[in-house]
């Protein structure tokens, strides 16, 4: 069988899995997940040479496959910066996503062979997590505009979401990194006048800027009923940041919106699927309260210790995601994010930052705490 035919068959199975959950709520059982994950892994060992060479170090090959998805070696996300991680000729990619370049060095590149599979995964995940009430919203987007940043996965995702689920009046309010505040203010006023519910999709950094701009002007708004905010991205690589609780509290004041109407999305350019906050869920992990994040059934996560063993639930470790929609690249990705497994999903604790130069160091934060 040709590679193309194998890829088509796998994509059909993955699409069917997505469809069953999206339309009927049918989840994958452990055996089904194992079966599909190992079939994809087998394919990738044969057609993704860079990943296959890495897996050889684990003693894995098409003739020596694991018996469970939990034994599939996760590839460090930074490998996407150093090589084309593709299980197909990468010049035939229908989509190419690059990381936002918030860390030093080359951007991460994720080549995707099949746009349909990517779209199906993101749309199903978004609709189930963000549009449980079936609302048709107006999308006000403070994320990279695909017209300017065609390789932004977040921009692409929200463009597809708005086209599929929006009211046809989508607005983009980032001009490169500049916030188009006047346009945003005018459009939000128009929506409020028409009682048109909104979805403001924004990075945490842009949301903070937006709130500060409104606070400076002394403006508060009560968004139309049914409106929501989707926040994503944290403050990666930014000099300024605020705690998420503070950010949300200020967003609630500025936009007259309830806490449960602000949901965080967690994704990365190296994955085709996303996590979202489970509304109303909170867990106490690492001396703090965190919202639980849930994934669609084709995305699972292992929380790993330094020996690559799975941590007990509630114990902090490195997040390794297994995304079956990553058929054309690498389905298992070891991130630089820390988190913990909980009953319903995971809690995300942020990016590992264990590599700071210390020397004779007395941290400023330490000083303030003492």
């Amino acid at each position: 069988m040709s590679r193309e035919r194998e890829a088509e068959e796998l994509d059909s199975r993955i699409l069917a899995t997505i469809e069953r959950w999206h339309r009927h709520g049918v989840r994958l059982g452990e055996a089904e997940f194992d079966d599909l994950a190992i079939a994809i892994f087998d394919y990738q060992l044969r057609y993704a040479p860079a990943y296959a060479a890495y897996c050889a170090g684990y003693g894995l090959s098409p003739s020596a496959l694991p018996t469970t998805w939990r034994a599939i070696p996760p590839l460090p996300a930074r490998a996407f910066k150093e090589a084309a991680i593709a299980a197909f000729p990468s010049d035939r990619a229908e989509l190419l996503f690059e990381s936002s370049g918030t860390t030093l060095g080359a951007p991460s590149r994720h080549y995707i062979e099949n746009r349909r599979l990517y779209d199906a995964s993101l749309l199903a995940g978004f609709e189930r997590a963000m549009l449980g009430d079936g609302a048709r919203l107006r999308y006000l987007l403070l994320v990279p505009n695909p017209a300017q940043r065609p390789h932004s996965s977040l921009g692409y995702m929200m463009g597809r979401v708005a086209a599929q689920f929006g009211d046809g009046e989508t607005g983009w309010y980032l001009d490169e990194d500049r916030l188009l505040l006047d346009a945003f203010t005018a459009d939000i006023g128009d929506a409020c006048a028409r009682a048109q519910p909104l979805c403001i999709a924004t990075t945490a950094f842009s949301l903070l800027h937006l709130i500060e701009a409104f606070e400076e002007r002394g403006v508060t708004i009560t968004l139309p009923a049914g409106s929501r905010i989707m926040e994503t991205g944290g403050f990666k690589g930014r000099e300024r940041s605020v705690a998420r609780e503070e950010l949300y509290a200020r967003a609630m004041r500025t936009f007259g919106i309830a806490a449960e109407s602000i949901l965080a999305e967690y994704g990365m350019s190296e994955l085709c699927s996303q996590y979202y906050d489970l509304p109303g869920s909170e867990r106490h992990v690492a001396e703090a309260i965190h919202r639980v994040k849930i994934a669609p059934p084709w995305l699972r996560t292992r929380v790993l210790d330094e020996r690559e063993r799975e941590c007990a639930p509630g114990t902090i470790g490195a997040l390794a995601h297994i995304d079956l929609a990553n058929r054309s690249s690498c389905l298992a990705v070891l991130t630089e994010d820390l988190g913990a497994a909980v009953d319903e999903g995971i809690v995300l604790l942020g990016r590992e930052s264990g590599a700071a130069l210390r020397g004779c160091s007395l941290d400023a934060e330490d000083l303030r705490r003492s």
Partner: protein, 403 residues
Amino acid sequence: MTALSSLSTHRIATAIGDAAMRWCDADFPPRVRVTNDIVERTGYSVPAVEFALDALFGELRTAALLETIARELGEPIALDASASRVLPLGRIAILSSRTTIGVAIPAMCFALCAKNDVIVKDREDHLVAAFAETLREELEAFDRALHVESWDARHEGTHLQDARLIVVYGNDDTIAQVTSEHAGSARTIGFGSRTSIGFLDAAAQGDPAARAAAFAGAARDASLYEGEGCMSLHALFFERSSACDPNELATEFAAAMERATIEFPVGVRSASQRAAMLQERNLAAFRAAAGNGAAFCDEHLGFLVLLAPPIQEAPKFLPRTVVMLPVGSPEEIVTYVERHALPVECLGVTGTPRSYAEIASRIGVARIASLGEMQRPPLGAHHGGRPRIAEYVRFLDFDGEHV
């Protein structure tokens, strides 16, 4: 007038040396008590803490204090003459370090030898406070001259305002914060975050005994204090040599790193450090699979040796993590250090330290030591390249006399 101004420098140094001698005894009860607290605060293993205390107090000898003073001030009695030409500053505040064990103590002792009143902001393990108690037992005047207390952010403004000089061990943010928020009119001396590097020349590589000794020493330098001290080895350069295969060198060094985990068991690590080490190891394995470099570790990831990672990457400031980089000549070390703007405290070498003076001066190194001795700086070594006592005094010149 300060509390110590009527005493001779020799008397002060003797009291300090005698107190330190008592602390050299691992069974000295105050040391036993504080050791557990240091272990709890730092997460380092007991042997590492014992090593630190032995190194710290073993160096704090009366003769070494007086020799260092003589080297910087001409002679210790310069501080004692009735019409002295070297005077104490007055009150000096020292902010102790979060990581390095007892880093404030040598500074405190030299500030006392200069007859200043000294206030030290201690850490949670109260090491400085415990040693101060012993000092007071040796010399009652220390009771008035030396105050050790915990940091209290609410009241530091008033506490530190009386100080003429504030010595801060911290990163750039901390030093800036102390200067702007607490220093008032006081001068601030900051000891910022620094790291250390090593070099293995071709001659040492070719001699199995010398090579083994160098690797054992380098492993100790990298393993102590989990790589957090400014003397901790994070990058080991080795001269390309036809005599030795880089993979064999790295394998041998990794074996030494593994043996070091027996002498100095691995300390407590944060989840972020563990995750970062896993990420680095797996990335190196990915590169190795593509024919670039290699990673060496034990099954517990107690240490990590990264052979020939891309030179565009800075060293990994992770526990017991060392990058090994082949170089054609020491000149390439300069290029690497400049590329990453590394603030280097110590250069560990295999040959004669003085033969690296030119390289060291170009990369801003404060000290050149033999591999294995990086974590044992002599008392007189200029931490951060700064004087030991000269900054704690002011000079009074008399026209017509030799200056």
